[in-house]
C-alpha cells in the first residue's frame, strides 16, 4: 500500500547542502504495525513528513494507495492528508478552548461533511480510542495529557484513514499513561486491522510494533520482524 522507491531528500540552504534521506526504498502493507526508529538527526522526521504527505521528496517515487504523491502540489497534498492519513503528534496539537467533539470533527469539517454525520463519526472515533464519553463536551485544555492524546488519536481515526502516523506519541507522557496510549494503538491494530506507523527514538517503545525499521544518517540500516513483541494486557 505504501511504496517508497529510491527516495532522496536534500535541503539546500545557501551553499550548504544537507542530505536528510539517502536512497530509501521500502514497502509497508495494509494492516501492518511498523515502528520507524532512529536517534535524533537520523532523518526519521523527514521520512515521516514524506510518508505523511507534508513534504515531497527531492527525487524518487512515493506511491500511496496506488497514487504517485511525489509530484503533487500543496493543495493536492492537503486533500490526500485529509482523506488517507491520520496524524498523532507528540504535543497533541488540539485546539484550545474548543470542546473534545469539535476537535475530533475538525478533519471532517475540511472534508465538507454535514454536521450530523460529523457528530456520529466523531463519537464513533472517540469510542474506538477508548475515550470516556463523560468528557465529550469538555474543553480540550481541561484534560490530562493521556486524555488529550486519546482525543488526538480519535481525531486521527475520524476520517477513516489508510494509515495512522504517530510521531513520538508518548514523548510528552509519563510511562504509565504512555502505556495506555500504546495499548490503544495495539488495540486498533490487532482488533481493528489499522495500519499504524510509529516514529520513535526509544527502542522499548518500538518493541510494541510488529516490524521495526531502523534508520541512521538518512540511510535505512535495518528492517526486521519483531519477534519479541511487547503486548500490553491489562485485562
Amino acid at each position: 500500500m505504501i511504496e517508497l522507491k529510491n527516495i532522496w531528500k536534500i535541503y539546500k540552504n545557501d551553499d550548504l547542502e544537507t542530505v536528510a534521506l539517502k536512497n530509501i526504498s521500502l514497502e509497508i502493507k495494509e494492516g501492518e504495525f511498523v515502528a520507524i526508529m532512529g536517534p535524533s538527526g537520523s532523518g526519521k522526521s523527514t521520512l515521516m513528513h514524506i510518508l505523511g504527505c507534508l513534504d515531497t521528496p527531492t527525487s524518487g517515487k512515493y506511491f500511496l494507495d496506488g497514487e504517485d504523491i511525489s509530484k503533487m502540489n500543496d493543495d493536492e497534498l492537503a486533500e490526500i492528508r485529509n482523506k488517507k492519513i491520520g496524524f498523532v503528534f507528540q504535543s497533541f496539537n488540539l485546539l484550545p478552548k474548543t470542546n473534545v467533539l469539535r476537535n475530533v470533527e475538525l478533519p471532517l469539517v475540511y472534508a465538507g461533511i454535514s454536521p450530523k454525520k460529523r457528530q456520529e463519526r466523531a463519537k464513533e472515533a472517540l469510542n474506538l480510542a477508548a475515550f470516556p464519553n463523560k468528557f465529550w463536551y469538555h474543553f480540550s485544555n481541561q484534560l490530562s495529557g493521556g486524555m488529550m492524546q486519546r482525543v488526538a488519536i480519535a481525531r486521527a481515526l475520524v476520517n477513516d484513514p489508510k494509515i495512522i502516523l504517530a510521531d513520538e506519541p508518548t514523548g510528552n507522557l509519563d510511562t504509565k499513561t504512555g502505556e495506555i496510549v500504546l495499548e490503544t494503538f495495539q488495540n486498533l491494530h490487532d482488533k481493528h486491522g489499522r495500519t499504524i506507523i510509529l516514529i520513535t527514538h526509544e527502542p522499548y517503545i518500538a518493541e510494541y510494533a510488529q516490524r521495526i525499521i531502523k534508520i541512521k544518517d538518512g540511510e535505512l540500516i535495518d528492517d526486521f520482524k519483531n519477534n519479541n513483541r511487547r503486548i500490553i494486557n491489562n485485562k
Binding site: 513528513h49 505523511g52 507534508l54 513534504d55 500543496d74 493543495d75 492537503a78 486533500e79 492528508r81 485529509n82 482523506k83 496524524f87 503528534f89 504535543s91 496539537n93 485546539l95 484550545p96 478552548k97 474548543t98 469539535r102 475538525l106 478533519p107 469539517v109 475540511y110 472534508a111 465538507g112 454536521p115 481525531r155 476520517n159
Partner: protein
C-alpha cells in the same frame, strides 16, 4: 470547507479571545461612530440652512448696492454701505419681462420702547406692500403695511414675533403704540415666525413703511437692498441679465462693471453649502484618521493572532486544510470584526448625533447614505487590513508551523 463551517470556526476563535477581539472592535467602533456623527452634523446643518433660506422666498434675486470685492463673498460684503440704489430704480425693474414683484428695502437698527419700559434693540425694515409676497412673510394677526400707508408716510409698524414678545410680553400688541427712535408708531400687525439663518434672526424684526423709514427715521434717499421675485425659475438668468443692462443704463455705468451686485437665493445657498461641505469634509477626515488607526489595529491583532496560532495553522493544514481555507478563515475573521465594529459604530454614531441635536440644539441628520458608506468602509477595511495576515497564515509551511514554539 463549507461556508457555515467557516463561520462557526470564526466565532469559536473570536470568542476564545474575547478581550482582544473586543478591543479591536472598539477601534473600529470609535472610527465609524465619529464618521457617522460628524457627517450627520454637517448634513443637518446643510439641510437646516437650505430649508430656512428657501423659507425666505423662492425665485429671488437680491440687488445689493456696490460691488463685491472678489474673494470676499456675500457674507462679509457689508451690504448697504454703498448708496447707489434709489427708489426710482424700482420702476425700471418692474418694467422688465418676467419680474413678478419688487420689494425695495431699507434696514437699520434702532432702540425701540414698548410698554412698561420694555425695550429692545432690533432691526427696523422699511418695506412696501410687496414685501410679504416676495419674502414669504405671513401675518399671524392684524394686517401688513398697505400702499396708501406708505405713500402717506404713516407711522405704523408690524412686529416680528420675537420683537412683539420683547416689547409686550404676552399682551396683544395690536392697537398699541411703540416708540422707534423716540417717534410714536401704531402697531397694526404681528408676523408669523420664520426662524433664523446664520446670525440673522428673522423674528426680531420690525417692519415700517419704506418712505416713513427713509424720510422720518433714517433721513436717507437710498435703498439697502431690492428683492426681485421672478415669475419662474427658468427666467432667473434672463431677468438677471436684463436688470444688469437696464439698471446700468439708468445709473450711466458700464454693464460689465455695474455699481450694484445681483445675488440669487441659489448663490447664497451655494456659498453657504460650500462652506458647510468643506467643514464636513474636514470633520470627516479627522474621523477618517481614527478609522485608519482602527484598521491598523485590526491588522496588528490579526498578525499577532497568526503568530500566536502558528501551531494551530500547522495542525489545520496537516489534517487537510487548503491554503484557501486558511486564508478565508483569517480574512473572514477580520471582516467579521470590522462589521461588528461597523454596526456598533453606526448605532453609537447615530446616538451621538441624536443627543447632540437634543442637548446642543444643533440639527443633525443621519442619512441612509452615510450608514451604507460606513458599512462599506468597515468591510473594505476588514478586507484590506486582513488580507496580508491571512495570506501570511495561508503560506505557512505545515512542518515548520507544527514545530513552532
Amino acid at each position: 470547507m463549507k461556508f457555515k463551517d467557516l463561520f462557526s470556526e470564526i466565532f469559536i476563535s473570536l470568542l476564545a479571545n474575547k478581550v482582544r477581539s473586543g478591543l479591536t472592535i472598539l477601534g473600529i467602533v470609535i472610527g465609524i461612530a465619529s464618521v457617522i456623527a460628524m457627517v450627520s452634523i454637517g448634513q443637518g446643518a446643510s439641510n437646516q440652512i437650505t430649508k430656512s433660506i428657501e423659507g425666505l422666498g423662492s425665485n429671488l434675486l437680491n440687488i445689493i448696492p456696490g460691488t463685491l470685492r472678489p474673494g470676499v463673498g456675500i457674507v462679509s460684503s457689508g451690504r448697504g454701505s454703498a448708496q447707489t440704489l434709489k427708489n426710482d430704480d424700482v420702476e425700471v425693474i418692474e418694467k422688465i419681462d418676467g419680474v413678478y414683484r419688487v420689494s425695495p428695502e431699507v434696514s437699520r437698527r434702532f432702540q425701540i420702547i414698548g410698554i412698561n419700559g420694555k425695550n429692545t434693540n432690533s432691526t427696523v425694515f422699511g418695506v412696501t406692500e410687496n414685501y410679504p409676497i416676495v419674502r414669504n412673510l405671513n401675518i399671524s394677526s392684524g394686517v401688513f403695511i398697505s400702499e396708501s400707508q406708505n405713500r402717506s408716510l404713516a407711522r405704523v409698524a408690524v412686529l416680528g414675533p420675537q420683537a412683539a414678545y420683547d416689547l409686550f410680553g404676552d399682551e396683544d400688541p395690536i392697537g398699541k403704540v411703540i416708540k422707534i427712535n423716540k417717534i410714536n408708531f401704531l402697531v397694526i400687525g404681528v408676523a408669523a415666525p420664520r426662524g433664523s439663518v446664520g446670525f440673522v434672526n428673522y423674528d426680531d424684526i420690525i417692519y415700517v413703511p419704506l418712505l416713513t423709514m427713509q424720510k422720518v427715521l433714517a433721513g436717507i434717499d437710498y435703498l439697502t437692498v431690492m428683492a426681485v421675485k421672478v415669475e419662474s425659475k427658468d427666467l432667473i438668468n434672463q431677468v438677471r441679465d436684463d436688470i444688469i443692462y437696464n439698471l446700468s443704463i439708468k445709473h450711466r455705468v458700464d454693464p460689465q462693471n455695474p455699481d450694484f451686485t445681483i445675488a440669487s437665493q441659489e448663490d447664497i445657498l451655494g456659498t453657504l453649502n460650500q462652506v458647510i461641505a468643506t467643514f464636513t469634509i474636514f470633520l470627516a477626515s479627522i474621523a477618517g484618521i481614527s478609522l485608519l488607526v482602527g484598521g491598523i489595529g485590526i491588522m496588528n491583532m490579526m498578525l499577532t493572532s497568526v503568530t500566536e496560532r502558528t501551531r494551530e495553522i500547522g495542525l489545520r493544514k496537516a489534517i487537510g486544510a487548503k491554503e484557501r481555507d486558511i486564508s478565508l478563515q483569517f480574512l473572514a475573521e477580520s471582516v467579521v470584526l470590522t462589521l461588528i465594529g461597523g454596526i456598533i459604530g453606526i448605532i453609537l454614531g447615530s446616538l451621538i448625533a441624536i443627543s447632540i441635536s437634543y442637548f446642543a440644539g444643533i440639527s443633525t441628520s443621519v442619512s441612509l447614505f452615510s450608514i451604507i458608506l460606513a458599512f462599506g468602509v468597515s468591510t473594505i477595511i476588514g478586507i484590506i487590513f486582513g488580507y496580508y495576515p491571512a495570506r501570511r497564515a495561508s503560506k505557512l509551511n505545515p512542518i515548520e508551523a507544527l514545530r513552532y514554539e
